[in-house]
């Protein structure tokens, strides 16, 4: 076993007559490929937090005058910033694909009389919506609309 789990994990509310050894986590917990994928999925939250801070910095620069704005935008072309945004893009793609893969089975068999569409249709709808929102933002940021 790798180490202790929560000492009260799966423990009864009243201790039994026999002394028990505390619960353990399996030895392969960290090294198992599925668990690594899950941990990577959760760790992307840190990337989103940092992306949010960068966005806040840009918004702050917007209100701080043209010179500050130009300097901030220029700083985003730093290779480290570009690398960070590539990591952000990979994180978003990874989380999107994993989340969309799980999404259909999380739908209830029906809500009142209404049944959800077949799983492939749900998946196609999710990817179409994702693509649509991405294109919309690209169009706004590219200056093609608004």
């Amino acid at each position: 076993m790798a180490g202790p789990a929560h000492p009260d994990a799966m423990a009864p509310s009243k201790p039994g007559k026999t002394r028990t050894a505390p619960p353990q986590m399996p030895a392969s917990w960290w090294s198992h490929p599925r668990i690594r994928t899950y941990l990577a999925f959760d760790a992307t939250g840190i990337v989103y937090l940092l992306l949010g801070l960068v966005a806040l910095r840009v918004v702050w620069a917007l209100g701080a005058g043209p010179e500050v704005w130009d300097a901030t935008i220029a700083s985003l072309s730093n290779p480290l910033y570009i690398l960070f945004h590539v990591i952000g893009l990979v994180s978003v793609l990874f989380v999107g694909v994993r989340f969309f893969g799980f999404f259909p089975k999380a739908q209830p068999p029906r809500i009142g009389p209404a049944k959800p569409p077949p799983q492939p249709v749900i998946l196609a709808g999710l990817y179409a919506a994702w693509l649509g929102v991405t294109l919309l933002f690209a169009a706004i940021l590219g200056g093609w609309i608004f």
Binding site: M1, A5, H6, P7, D8, A9, M10, A11, P12, S13, G16, T18, R19, T20, A21, P22, P23, Q24, M25, P26, A27, S28, W29, H32, R34, I35, Y38, D42, F102, K105, A106, Q107, P108, P109, R110, I111, G112
Partner: protein
Amino acid sequence: MGEPTKTFVITRFDPDKDEVPKTQEYEIPVEADWKVLDAINFIKDEVDPSISHRWSCRMAVCGSCGMMVDGEPKLTCKTALSDYGDRVTVEPLANFPIVRDLVTELEGFMEKFQRVKPWVIRAKEDAGAADSKPPMNDKGTFVQSPAELAEFKQFSMCINCMLCYAACPVVANEAEFLGPAAIALGHRYNLDSRDQGQDERNEIFRDEGTVFSCSFANECSEVCPKNVDPAAAVNQAKFGAVIDWATSLVLPRASAGRRGEQGGK
């Protein structure tokens, strides 16, 4: 050539002597068609009768023989020994208190089970009424169509083997978490057309340490030997609990026994 052998590294714990669990190795001859349980039974019968482990049906129905095999929760009666190398580690199910050797404490699991009210709940005013919904037949039992059965049948196939609890990272870190099998069972009754206890269970599902503690690691479904897909049940239950809460804001509730909208008739 001698007969093939494998070495089994087995967790040992005697509550009267040991402070913490330790391991003991056994090298035994193995047959090509053995399951892991066959090897453990061989060790107990022929090498060391002091080993404690649970098993019963030997056909993946009773759910007794769940153990960690090379770090992964497995029903040992269903796990082919040929899939493993010359050295196989067998441990008690992770995330459970260890009673002795490969035997774990089950009482905490049973308490979690009872919390979700895993039985058909009927509203008192509806009990025995001639116009009950769904209708009763002349034998006094409720009529249920194959389509209504299909909505929850998958979640009723659980054999309570507890592999999902051993695999779940939330169970390992959050002692209050109801866990996959218990939530799947509660959700199974929420989807049952004969049941009227959805409001009661959804109230439990909205408590701390229940469905919203699940981070959708999906490990429970990966290790489930009966393809119950508890992760689907837990996340459908999240949806149901939210819908139930939202409808309760705008629709009056006559009693706790009434069913909500999601999955109900």
